[in-house]
């Protein structure tokens, strides 16, 4: 769903991390698509670059699953934007995802302990 070719991050990993990333960004408050993409760029220090238009199908899928909801609103400069907001179910899903990713992180850390790893 996203473009990882500039960064070397595999496509699968980019795709797998998309949902928890979106959920946690929305967990900090509502946002529209462009803002989410900017936030991902910032969080990764420019290392993870999403093909912009690919974000929206993921957002719509999350909306269909009832994890997030959206509202059309007009900004001060008169631009209509669709704002996405986390729902209760989305918050629960975020907690679950968080525990899973932390577990994977912990497992990797443990298995790397004591290993000579130059990177």
């Amino acid at each position: 769903m996203t473009d990882g070719k500039h960064t070397g991050i595999s496509k699968d990993l980019v795709a797998a991390s998309a949902t928890p990333l979106i959920l946690s960004i929305l967990g900090q408050g509502e946002a529209y698509g462009y803002l989410i993409i900017k936030r991902v760029r910032e969080l990764s220090g420019g290392q993870m670059e999403w093909a912009d238009g690919m974000l929206y199908p993921v957002l719509h899928r999350l909306e269909d699953r009832g994890l997030i909801e959206s509202t059309w609103r007009e900004s001060e400069e008169g631009r209509r934007r669709k704002y996405y907001r986390l729902k209760e179910a989305g918050l629960r899903e975020l907690r679950v995802q968080r525990s899973h990713w932390l577990l994977v992180n912990k497992m990797l850390q443990k298995s790397w302990e004591g290993q000579a790893c130059s990177t």
Binding site: A51, D52, H60, E63, S70
Partner: protein
């Protein structure tokens, strides 16, 4: 001179044609494009440069509809249904025109004094009707055979993923739709013939056959009218997709 309004409309129009987008998807992409461009123009790009960079960042014309089609199966099917309805309507209209022409030709033959005898009129009319229906059926058969050929060798035409996917041209989609409709109509006509033949030989005596066939032709007319009305309203509804309330979300 670069016309931003027109370029944006063209870009959105291209996406719309793929049938994978709802109206609110395009609206969202438009506002995304505007945000992206604003930032690029702030960095010193010209409007034209910013437009090209922004559209290429959003995604290519192939991959964007593909991703949306995965989510918007409803929009994709609405698009397909609409074109199928259009094709069936076109077929009905064509059929009606051919029927009118053949009857008109028969009437003209009589009124010109060429053949005044009623028997000759009936004979000529039936001959004409037979020839017309035969040629329509031959055409449909060709279309159906073409459809089978397309299905079997679709990768050769880039039709492997023929909707909302990469590698397909507009004309190939139209051919595919037309062929699908031709096959469907042919199949329906054949099953109607077979069904009527079985029913009439099984349950009808010679005496009731006349009454039954006139009732059937009246039923046929009513059915055709209802079908046409149904198809017209279907095309009307499907060609103007409404914004889904679900996607608009609650107002706060």
């Amino acid at each position: 001179m670069f016309d931003l309004e027109k370029s944006t409309a063209d870009w959105l129009g291209d996406l719309r044609q793929s049938g994978a987008f709802e109206d609110f998807d395009l609206e969202e992409l438009r506002s995304h494009l505007a945000d992206e461009m604003e930032q690029l123009v702030d960095k010193g790009l010209s409007e034209k440069e910013a437009f090209w960079v922004a559209t290429s960042r959003v995604g290519t014309r192939e991959e964007l509809p593909r991703e949306y089609a995965k989510v918007n199966s409803r929009a994709v099917w609405r698009h397909r249904l609409m074109w199928m309805s259009v094709a069936i309507l076109a077929y009905l209209i064509l059929n009606g025109i051919i029927g009118l022409l053949s009857q008109g030709a028969a009437v003209a033959t009589v009124s010109s004094g060429f053949a005044s005898d009623l028997v000759i009129l009936l004979g000529a009319g039936m001959d004409a009707a037979f020839i017309v229906s035969l040629s329509v059926r031959v055409l449909l058969t060709c279309g159906a055979l073409g459809c089978v050929y397309l299905v079997l060798y679709r990768d050769r035409f880039g039709l492997l993923n023929w909707h909302g996917r990469a590698r397909r041209s507009r004309s190939s989609i139209i051919v595919f739709y037309a062929a699908t409709v031709a096959l469907t109509v042919l199949f329906l006509t054949l099953s109607q013939f077979v069904g009527v033949a079985i029913l009439s030989t099984r349950w009808l005596t010679v005496e009731t056959w006349g009454t039954a066939s006139s009732a059937a032709s009246a039923g046929n007319v009513i059915f055709s009218v209802l079908l046409a009305v149904f198809l017209v309203s279907m095309v009307f509804v499907l060609s103007r997709p409404k914004k889904s309330e679900r996607h608009l979300g609650p107002e706060r």
